[in-house]
Symmetry: C2
Subunit: 386 residues, 2 copies
């Protein structure tokens, strides 16, 4: 186990009917920017509950934050906050709205051009506008971490930044929102959380025994929850387990004291940039092929994963490791995920030249916990993913 | 899963050589009360490291906080802080010192007689003196929670209180302290953490799937770590896993969304009050006998525990549940724990009349997650524990 620091001051309110507590969480007299996305909150009853809970506050709406939120869109909110002297932001939405609000929060008082927050992947430690969230889509974990991914539309750059000032002050996680989600969003949430865990867990043995057990526990819970919540999104207990797994998958806990990977995300982001494939679907396509290509450096952990998560027994650890990858792909397929690029686009051939060129452009050398995912391996992974 | 609120703002610095960072954690110019216990910090090098890290601060020492810290002792520190105008407390020690400091922190500015904080088990939400901790003994988890147990020596009352203002601002957890601990303290830490988890986990199925998995993960890690750390306390990785398990066992996470038990602690506290038996040893004695007496209401969870933690396969769930209790007792014995009162005192006979009378005095009706542990069952548990 490596040295680590754990700090996560977000107050999480989990369960049905928690939105009514908003008034106890936002300072009296605050002028609030109510930030949201495409408008699903008007269909699922969340907007109504939020408006009722905020009676007495001045609320300025800001809608239209898109999936993979755009810097260009978010800057309009920054200008609105400056013009209207707004003191608090309430993000009502999924990971894209929350990530977007983190950028807005950091940008309002930023000395300089806010685009540098993204371009230089800055660490924001102070001077952020306080914000809270009402989560409408379990997936990214953004409701309980200080990280954000924002896209500069003009240049198709999708980059991450974060910092201690960007933890939500509170997040309300009400699992009843799951019942009104399209199946595709539930599938995406399940697999997004699953691969978030894999990025932090599926590396090499690091003697961080409890972190491994917790990671395996999230994976097992997601595997058991997937058929229940997909079959019946109104199953409150299944929705609760999904939502809590999604939060716990990326609130920082399981990455403490270990080296992490995140190469599947780095490659997946490029598939989103090129084809607009949903983020989680890019992870389902790339993840297993990355494990195949990096089999030698990941096989010890793959075997542990195979034994503990999938209860595979086989003659050798290598066989268990190989079988564990197949089980992962099978699980992704069972949840309705694509596992090849061709299932998402007729232009799969473009992927290799486009993505290899993008990584070359960044004077990038290698990815992964061992920094051994080089351009050659990247090409192999993409080849298997076509 | 029940509704829950999660909030834990303690900043944890985990690993070797973290004590040197104290200066970045305590406000410049703070006048510090350095609170400690029996003086082991002068033997294990921790005092020296702390003093070096605090160069430039005014530091007022306060030693002698005893195990199961006494209200009477702690009030002397309260008076010292008031007299010397001290602004920050640094607890350097184990759970008793940290619990003691939580009381001191709450008492200094308390309007009224501070004894009421304990007697009325008050929730302290504000006006506490800020404090941090340097942990010297992994066991209680007090370094990352807002709870405290303090004993009023005059009346032999051992009572708990807490509240959001009593989270440590930071805690430094350096696993190298384990190497200088007496074996008895390591045994106590292992079993204290183990039973902390059992109190929150071994109840009945509550559809909190991830909380179960995390609880099982802590138990499995403690079982695997016990022989390693007992055989070689200088094994840094084993010590790290023990320390992280102890913190995670009682930082609030695994109790979120579930009904909890804590009857083993309630009974065990009385064994400490009567005989002075170490806290963790009382848990090793009472725990398994409580599971035996409450077998019917706990057997579903006992079977789950038997399958997942001990990999027991048997014809029926009842057999697995029964076997799981035997494995637990065997594990406690292997770590060197007593599992009967007679191993700790020649006066075991006193236990039943004394403890039953104490619970009667409190006009107590029943304990446990189902509130079904009544006086009759209490007597049965004690009978089996003699």
């Amino acid at each position: 186990m490596l040295n680590f620091e754990w700090y996560n001051p977000t107050r999480l309110l989990f369960g049905a009917d928690q939105i009514a507590k908003l008034k106890s969480l936002i300072p009296p007299g605050a002028k609030i920017l109510l930030a949201y996305g495409g408008g699903s909150i008007f269909q699922n009853g969340v907007h109504q509950q939020v408006v009722e809970a905020l009676e007495g506050y001045t609320v300025v709406p800001f809608g239209g934050i898109e999936p993979n939120p755009h810097y260009e869109t978010l800057m309009k909110a920054v200008e609105l906050i400056r013009a209207e002297n707004i003191s608090f932001i309430l993000a009502v939405g999924g990971g894209s709205v929350i990530d977007g609000v983190k950028f807005i929060s950091a940008a309002v008082k930023f000395a300089g051009d806010p685009i540098t927050i993204i371009r230089e992947r800055m660490l924001i430690k102070e001077n952020a506008i306080p914000f809270g969230t009402v989560l409408t889509l379990p997936a990214t974990g953004s409701e309980m971490n200080s990280g954000s991914v924002v896209t500069i539309a003009a240049t198709q750059e999708k980059l991450s930044f974060g910092g201690e000032a960007l933890f939500p002050q509170f997040s309300i996680c009400d699992p009843t929102v799951v019942q009104s989600l399209p199946t595709r969003q539930i599938q995406n949430g399940l697999i997004d959380a699953f691969v978030h865990v894999m990025e932090q867990y599926l590396t090499f043995p690091q003697q961080a025994d409890l972190q491994d057990r917790i990671a395996e526990g999230i994976l097992q819970t997601l595997i058991e929850t997937a058929p229940k919540v997909l079959q019946n999104p109104s199953d409150y207990q299944a929705a609760s387990n999904l939502m809590w797994c999604c939060t716990m998958a990326l609130n920082g806990l399981i990455s403490k004291g270990v080296k992490v990977d995140w190469a599947t995300h780095a490659i997946g982001h490029e598939l989103t940039a090129l084809y607009g494939i949903d983020h989680a679907r890019t992870l389902a396509i790339i993840g297993p092929n990355l494990y195949r290509v990096l089999f030698e450096s990941k096989k010890e952990k793959l075997a542990q994963y195979g034994k503990r998560v999938w209860q595979i027994s086989a003659a050798s650890d290598d066989q268990i490791a190989a079988e564990a990858i197949e089980r992962t792909t099978a699980f992704f397929k069972q949840t309705g995920m694509p596992t090849t690029i061709s299932e998402c686009t007729e232009d799969a051939d473009k992927a290799i030249p486009f993505i290899v060129a993008r990584f070359k452009d960044r004077q990038w050398t290698a990815l992964g916990e061992h920094q051994n995912l080089d351009l050659e391996k990247l090409e192999q992974i993409l080849q298997k993913s076509l």
